[in-house]
Amino acid sequence: MRKRSDEERAVKDRGTLETLLVTGEKKQSKANMMPGPTSILFVLLGTTIVLLIVVLARASLTATPAGKILVFLVFFVLPVLCGFWGLNEHLERSKQTAFCLSCHIMQPYGESLYASDPTYIPAAHFQNHRIPPDEACYTCHTDYAMYGTIHVKLHGLRHIYMQYFGTPMNPIRLYDPYNNRECLHCHAGARSFENDTHMALLDQIKSNQLSCVSSGCHDTIHNAAAIGNVKIWRPQE
């Protein structure tokens, strides 16, 4: 009985979150009507496929020197270009909020972005566009250090493996304590950060002796376990 009510709640939550994300994507697609790199990649993919089929159907093309150059372009240069461009495109897409929240286990964390409660730090950042809403997870959970993006992407591959071939940890925990560096990446030097409390503790904050999120200062983060009891903000159409 309890399992069934959990499942019903999960379906309801999923519906709410998908509606919110779709609304956000529609707004974004309206704002971005210009053909982007993805459109160019699709054209390149289509052209390469057509040229490959033409060369396969007319092998006599390979007899001339110009034909040999064409074959080299179509069989080597263009596929390699398409492959690397596609990889880059997929890596860029993996930064999207919708990508992170497509796994079921992330649903409550996605819901927490819409919590109508300013003490929820991710919600305050997401709803007020202090972070890019379409890259909300990545912006706060990337590693702002050298090779940080690669580090995070490798973690992402591990998450995909655990989601589909293993057992994801429940509740989710960070690999390491949250580093103040990720907060200071944006907040350091900001006028709103320059208050007496922050300035008095700046050295401890910078050295991670005092955590921004777990020292009692800004400690309501996703709070996924309690998100079912929080009022949800719905963006205006």
């Binding site: 993919l45 069989f75 492959g83």
Partner: protein, 75 residues
């Protein structure tokens, strides 16, 4: 057409088919923002593309060696 040339032609055609399949997988995966799309691109599309390119390069080498049988290194 001798046996060497037919082998070259076969590997050339096979590499073309692998490349078309890999590019089709890539095109389909790019329509979807989801971890499975990334996996499909990386595991299926990537393997097909890599196999196609490597087979094409090996068919070039095969073609070179079959068209120049006297080019064997001297000892």
């Amino acid at each position: 057409m001798n046996a060497g040339e037919s082998k070259v032609s076969l590997s050339f055609r096979l590499s073309g088919i692998l490349l078309v399949a890999g590019l089709c997988v890539e095109a389909v995966s790019l329509h979807w923002v989801h971890p499975i799309a990334f996996l499909a691109f990386f595991v299926i599309g990537g393997v097909l593309l890599a196999a196609g390119v490597l087979l094409y390069l090996s068919s070039l080498l095969l073609h070179h060696s079959s068209s120049n049988p006297n080019d064997t290194p001297s000892h």
